[in-house]
């Protein structure tokens, strides 16, 4: 119903009709009250950046559109670097950055919406149960190249690294204090799901991906396992309570202090109303 109404963007019906539709859709009273105050909101928001965040923000955008019928939220993907560049140049109203903000990005206004942990994954049949931080560093810098050196079978390791510009890469390197030029990788990949597939398809592979993604795939029977880091189990729960050491905040950013539509959207994306969407996309909502 609502989708078809979206077609009539220049909605001739007044706010009464809007209210009626919202009431029909069963949107709780409190939200409706808030809507009447701001139902002048209209226009298009362009959001670009991290591919990790794109599905989440797109889903939040859809729910936002259903609240404000005259609003369009267009989400484009391309990576955190692009989110920063587009927000700076004004090509996007809001940028998406799937990591902590850097020192030279202090000119931008950043708003955390969720957290994501980065976990190390092995093939399920790999007998290795845990790796120390030193062993991980040695593996990724090419000092250990055979699984038997860390208690596994006599087999060469396949080291899976992320491509330059990916936030998971930066988070991973930052925690283990490795320079990307020192990494000796056999496979370089892009998105998380690609990392999971690479490790699931190679018994001697080691990789690192978003914990939410890995946890979901593991529950679906994909043959991978998450290793604990520093004695802490890798799970969305330990990411949420802050005990898991390798995690990253997911930000949406603007160049100038947000006003109007952008502010409404950012407030909404940070509100409790979207926690179910965040969980649905295998990320961790921020603590209240």
């Amino acid at each position: 119903m609502c989708k078809y109404l979206n077609i009539f963007r220049v909605n001739p019906c007044g706010s009464l009709a809007t209210l009626l539709i919202l009431a029909l859709l069963g949107i709780p009273g409190s939200v409706t009250a808030q809507t009447t105050a701001t139902d002048q909101l209209s226009g298009k928001l362009v959001i670009t950046g991290a591919s990790t965040l794109a599905p989440l923000i797109a889903e939040i955008g859809k729910r936002f559109e259903s609240l404000y019928v005259k609003v369009r939220v267009d989400v484009q993907t391309g990576g955190s670097s692009r989110g920063v560049a587009d927000a700076r140049q004004g090509l996007a109203d809001i940028g998406m950055v799937s990591r902590a903000m850097k020192d030279d990005e202090k000119d931008l206004h950043a708003f955390p919406v969720a957290r994501d942990g980065v976990g190390i994954i092995l093939h399920k049949q790999n007998p290795v149960q845990a790796l120390t931080d030193e062993q991980v560093v040695a593996i990724y810098t090419g000092k250990i190249t055979n699984w038997k050196d860390v208690g596994g079978k006599d087999a060469p390791m396949t080291v899976v690294n992320k491509a330059e510009g990916r936030s998971t890469l930066e988070v991973f390197l930052h925690y283990f204090k490795i320079k990307n030029t020192d990494v000796k990788a056999q496979v370089v990949i892009g998105d998380n799901e690609q990392g999971v597939k690479t490790v699931a398809g190679n018994r001697h592979a080691i990789g690192y991906v978003s914990i939410g993604t890995a946890e979901y795939d593991e529950s679906q029977g994909v043959p991978i396992k998450l290793l604990s880091v520093g004695g802490v189990t890798a799970s969305t729960e330990t990411v949420r309570n802050g005990t898991f050491p390798i995690s990253r905040p997911l930000h949406i950013i603007t160049r100038t202090p947000p006003v109007g539509l952008a502010k409404a959207f950012i407030d909404y994306a940070q509100s409790k109303a979207v926690h179910d969407i965040i969980t649905q996309q295998y990320f961790v909502p921020l603590a209240d």
């Binding site: 484009q76 993907t77 391309g78 090509l91 799901e193 996309q281």
Partner: protein, 287 residues
């Protein structure tokens, strides 16, 4: 019998025989495996609802309705722009430019270079030129125009070959009959060159419909039902890429979408070859 005997007696002959059949079998088997895998995993998810419903939960649930519409619109824009320009250029190259002329050689060379350019380069060009310079933004129009740029070299070159394949006697006879060049072109050469055009079209459409890199920066990622050509719209190939590489748990719908893409491609190729055999070829025969 004698032939089989000589083949078995001559090991070189036998090797060549095995090699040729082996390669053919390998190619066919790869295709069958690929198609079988897609059908096996995808068929159970394809339904009328899947084809018409909008995607939900980042594409894990719901269908691909708006994505099919966007894909068709992008392809429509691409063909509407590339077909007239493509045929025009091919006519100029084949009928009005001599093989040896500098202009002809330069044009052909640059088209061949363009045909080999990786699609991501077209994507970045499209993003810089159509989206930013021309101010079309992330839109179906930008995506379709970028694809047109990508498809044009293939289309022009194979249409040109189509024209060159028409025997010179056709042109001479037409001239002897006192037909004007335009009449000859429209009624004689164009229908006769249709097979070449269709080959180019099938190759071009195949390349366009499977394109991801050139579209992600031009037509974009938005999976809402497009309201105009200036809206951003997600193409089927981008949807498949996102579901399989970026969205965990999107595999089932990725397979189903792939199946739809393959069926679309087969349907387009089928229509093209049907047109070549029955639709347009007959016209030449009756002329």
């Amino acid at each position: 019998m004698a032939e089989t005997l000589s083949r078995s007696q001559n090991p070189r002959e036998w090797l060549a025989f095995a090699l040729v059949w082996g390669s053919a079998a390998l190619v066919t088997a790869t295709f069958c495996w690929l198609l079988g895998d897609i059908v096996w995993h995808g068929l159970s998810h394809v339904s009328w609802t899947f084809l018409t419903a909008p995607p939900e939960n980042a594409g894990r649930r719901g269908g691909i309705g708006p994505i099919l519409v966007s894909t068709s619109l992008i392809l429509g824009v691409c063909l509407a722009v590339s077909l007239p320009i493509g045929i025009g250029t091919a006519v100029l190259l084949a009928e009005f430019t001599s093989d040896q002329s500098l202009f002809g050689r330069m044009t052909r060379r640059s088209l061949d270079v363009l045909a080999g350019v990786p699609s991501i380069v077209f994507g970045l060009f499209g993003n810089a030129f159509f989206c930013k310079t021309l101010g079309l933004g992330f839109s179906i129009l930008s995506g379709g125009l970028t694809l047109a740029c990508m498809v044009l070299p293939i289309l022009i070159r194979s249409t040109e070959e189509g024209f060159r394949a028409v025997p010179a006697s056709y042109r001479l006879s037409a001239a002897a009959l006192g037909l004007s060049r335009t009449t000859t072109l429209v009624h004689l050469l164009l229908p006769a060159a249709v097979p070449g055009l269709l080959v180019g079209l099938v190759l071009g459409v195949g390349r366009a419909i499977a394109e991801t890199a050139a579209l992600i920066f031009t037509s974009g990622y938005v999976d809402r039902m497009p309201e105009s050509l200036l809206d951003s719209g997600r193409a089927l190939s981008i949807h498949i890429f996102d579901l399989s590489m970026n969205v965990s748990g999107g595999d089932a719908n990725a397979y189903a979408s792939t199946l739809v893409l393959v069926i679309m491609l087969l349907a387009i190729n089928g229509t093209a070859s049907w047109l070549a055999t029955y639709g347009l070829h007959r016209k030449v025969v009756t002329v």
